[in-house]
């Protein structure tokens, strides 16, 4: 045990005490902060925009007033981004081709953002709107204009049929919904945002804790192999202890990261009055699933590292492993909505995925069947020695093997060697 500890301490210090580690430690939250800031900025709009001009051709005279009022209502509520409508009534249809050519020119020169041509029967409910623009990718703008036209047209139809638009709106209002969460002891109003984001946050923290440092472990193993220091080490410590020490050292690095990010998130959440989202029970679950999950994965990574002479070579072998981890990330949205669905339950019992899937499900629904929690945890726990045993065998052979990197098949053959 003493040697495992010594190896672990060296690996921990040599990993944490590097500029790369410090930078990655600082960069990640900064990056997350920047992303949050940008998305918040987008919600608020990007500040005052110059007014955008839109022309409409073939506007029925009956619609002109409704259109104007729809646009002016919009402009009142969006002073940062005015939309100015120029109407060309049916009366101008004589020189329509010339008009359209002129408008095309205006759009290209930038005077107009877009122009639209109304079908003749737009008021009867069949015809539609033809939207001409240079910036087709700004579909949101097109949709806004469409909505404003719809509003005007629908209003017109109501009035034409003797209905009050105001009354229709009131009558067709949808039934309001309030979701109350009963999964915790204390009933609380569910927060739509938190329902999705908190489980994702936990899953991501798990992903990050387990994988953020996997690169370090891979590098540390490959360094010992390619610098040939391994032969010196192996006349002092057994391959298994060396591997165990390295894994423990990196596990400590992972815990350091999780502790720092966890604390930072908690402080952020508290400052924003959301600390109730991160409860201590979840923290306990997190650590319980993190430790075996980490051991399992880093055994695989140590085995892969031992078989390769450079980081580049390891990419091929890392790919299948990455696939396994990406599955929960790709399916999180479905699982968060159906934490007790077949998909989520099945993935919970595939040991390499267990930690991420279970923490996601537990965050989404704290009252998961106890049976599933215990069974998935035990399965994970029991698979750790099996994975470590297999990894140690691969490590023992691989770490002294130079030359061409082995394929998966050859690695599997090492498992059978004595």
């Amino acid at each position: 045990m003493g040697k495992i500890f010594k190896v672990a301490v060296r690996d921990y210090i040599e990993t944490v005490n590097t500029k790369t580690f410090l930078i990655s430690l600082l960069m990640t939250p900064v990056l997350i902060g920047v992303i949050i800031y940008i998305s918040r900025m987008q919600e608020k709009g990007e500040g005052p925009q110059p007014p955008r001009h839109v022309a409409a051709v073939n506007v029925p005279d009956e619609l002109a007033a409704d259109l104007d009022s729809a646009f002016s209502r919009y402009n009142e509520s969006h002073p940062q981004g005015l939309i100015i409508l120029e109407q060309h009534g049916k009366g101008e249809n004589e020189g329509r081709e010339a008009l359209l050519d002129r408008l095309r020119e205006d759009v290209r020169s930038g005077r107009l953002e877009a122009f639209c041509v109304l079908d003749d029967d737009i008021l009867e409910g069949k015809g539609g709107l033809h939207f001409y623009t240079r910036k087709v990718s700004e579909f949101e703008f097109g949709r806004t204009v469409r909505d404003l036209f719809s509003e005007a047209v629908v209003n017109f139809r109501f009035i034409k049929n003797g209905l009050s638009p105001k009354l229709v709106n009131e009558l067709s209002r949808r039934v309001p919904l309030e979701v109350v969460d009963l999964s915790a002891k204390k009933e609380k109003k569910a927060d739509g945002f938190a329902i999705f984001i908190v489980p994702f946050f936990f899953m991501f923290l798990m992903f990050f804790g387990i994988f953020g440092i996997s690169g370090n472990l891979l590098m540390s193993v490959i360094e010992e192999k390619s610098s040939r220091v391994i032969e010196v080490l192996l006349t002092s410590v057994s391959p298994f202890r060396l591997m165990a020490g390295k894994i423990l050292g990196q596990c400590a690095v992972g815990l350091t990261l999780v502790a720092i990010y966890g604390t930072a998130s908690y402080i952020t959440a508290s400052l924003r009055g959301m600390s109730n989202l991160l409860n201590p029970v979840m923290m306990i679950y997190f650590i319980l699933y993190f430790l075996p999950g980490f051991l399992l994965f880093s055994s695989l990574i140590a085995a892969i590292g031992s078989a390769c002479n450079s980081l580049k070579e390891s990419q091929n072998l890392m790919q299948p492993l990455m696939m396994v981890v990406l599955v929960p990330i790709m399916l999180w949205f479905k699982m968060v909505q159906h934490p007790e669905g077949t998909l989520a339950v099945v993935l919970s019992f595939i040991p390499p995925m267990t930690p991420m899937v279970m923490i996601l499900r537990l965050a989404a629904r704290p009252d998961l069947p106890l049976f599933q929690i215990i069974a998935s945890f035990l399965l994970l726990l029991l698979s750790v020695p099996a994975f470590m045993w297999a990894a140690a065998k691969i490590f023992r052979t691989g770490i002294l093997m130079y030359g061409k990197p082995p394929g998966v098949r050859e690695i599997l053959r090492w498992l059978r060697s004595d």
Partner: protein, 302 residues
């Protein structure tokens, strides 16, 4: 302490179809410098790696410091592999204290040993430098320190002299001699015969994975003695070829290389020569290890 530091009993190792080491046996007495000689590809490194349990022999038995399980004597062994390497980003002192600690040393004793060795090998002012900042020769010396930091009873050095300049070569050889005087056993492999001749008490010569000969340096020289003398005589030397003791002679500049009849005594020849001419020089020719090596390797390849 056992009298035998290391014994190899018919160890063999094949890589694919190549028999790298073929039924090699040897006994290494404790307290000597043991040279492990052979041309490139003879199986020296493979044998050393089997001794250090880096690779397993296909068959045979290795007893090291009285144990068959090497992990029991790790702390009594120092090993310098042929392919050198240390953590490039670590500082000199930290590496030594890590490797020393893995060998079971601790605290004050360890840090004293580190300081002493760094001082001795002229690396004291580099203690806080990273390995990658050292020159190749310095890294080599650092690797040597890492090998002997735990004052091992058995020091195993694979090609210890490659890449060393003459000054460092003398330094390392001096330390090897001193280790022997302190009762340690040193095994090293080399294909540089002059170094082996200067240092070794015992020699094991291998070629193509097989032992060609082994024994003390004197024994081997005696075994391959050619019974030749080199003399310098004044005057006519024509009579030499007619002496009954002489099998043949060859003139080489001012000197004459004389091959004696089998079993003939060199002292008798000297008397016979002195009776007939003035002898300015008389030297019994001792075969150099280099000559024996070339002769034996050539023979076993032929």
């Amino acid at each position: 302490m056992t009298d035998c530091a290391l014994s190899l009993e018919k160890i063999s190792k094949s890589f694919g179809d190549v028999r790298a080491v073929d039924s090699l046996s040897a006994r290494l007495p404790a307290g000597c410098i043991y040279g492990f000689l052979g041309p490139n590809g003879a199986g020296k490194t493979t044998t050393i790696r089997m001794i250090t349990d880096i690779i397993h022999p296909d068959s045979g038995e290795i007893v090291i410091l009285g144990e068959t399980a090497i992990e029991r004597v790790w702390h009594r062994i120092g090993y310098m592999p042929e392919e050198r390497g240390l953590y490039r980003k670590m500082k000199v002192r930290k590496i030594l204290s890590y490797l020393g600690a893995l060998k079971g040393m601790k605290g004050e004793a360890l840090s004293r040993a580190i300081s002493r060795w760094l001082e001795e090998l002229g690396l004291a002012d580099k203690a806080d430098n990273k390995v990658e900042a050292l020159s190749r020769g310095m890294q080599q010396k650092l690797q040597f320190i890492a090998t002997v930091i735990n004052d091992p009873e058995l020091v195993i050095l694979d090609e210890p002299f490659s890449g060393l300049d003459p000054i460092n070569l003398d330094l390392i050889q001096g330390i090897m001699t001193r280790l022997r005087e302190a009762g340690r056993t040193v095994i090293f492999s080399t294909h540089m015969m002059e170094q082996a001749e200067k240092l070794c008490d015992y020699i094991l010569l291998v070629n193509r994975g097989r032992k060609i000969c082994d024994g003390t340096l004197d024994e081997i020289r005696e075994r391959y003695r050619t019974n030749q003398v080199v003399v310098e005589l004044e005057g006519d030397t024509g009579f030499v070829g007619e002496l009954p003791l002489v099998k043949g002679s060859k003139k080489d500049g001012r000197s004459l290389e004389i091959t004696l009849q089998d079993g003939a005594d060199q002292q008798e020849l000297l008397m016979a020569l002195a009776g007939r001419a003035r002898v300015n020089a008389f030297q019994v020719k001792v075969p150099s290890l280099h000559e024996i090596f070339v002769h034996l390797v050539g023979e076993s390849n032929g």
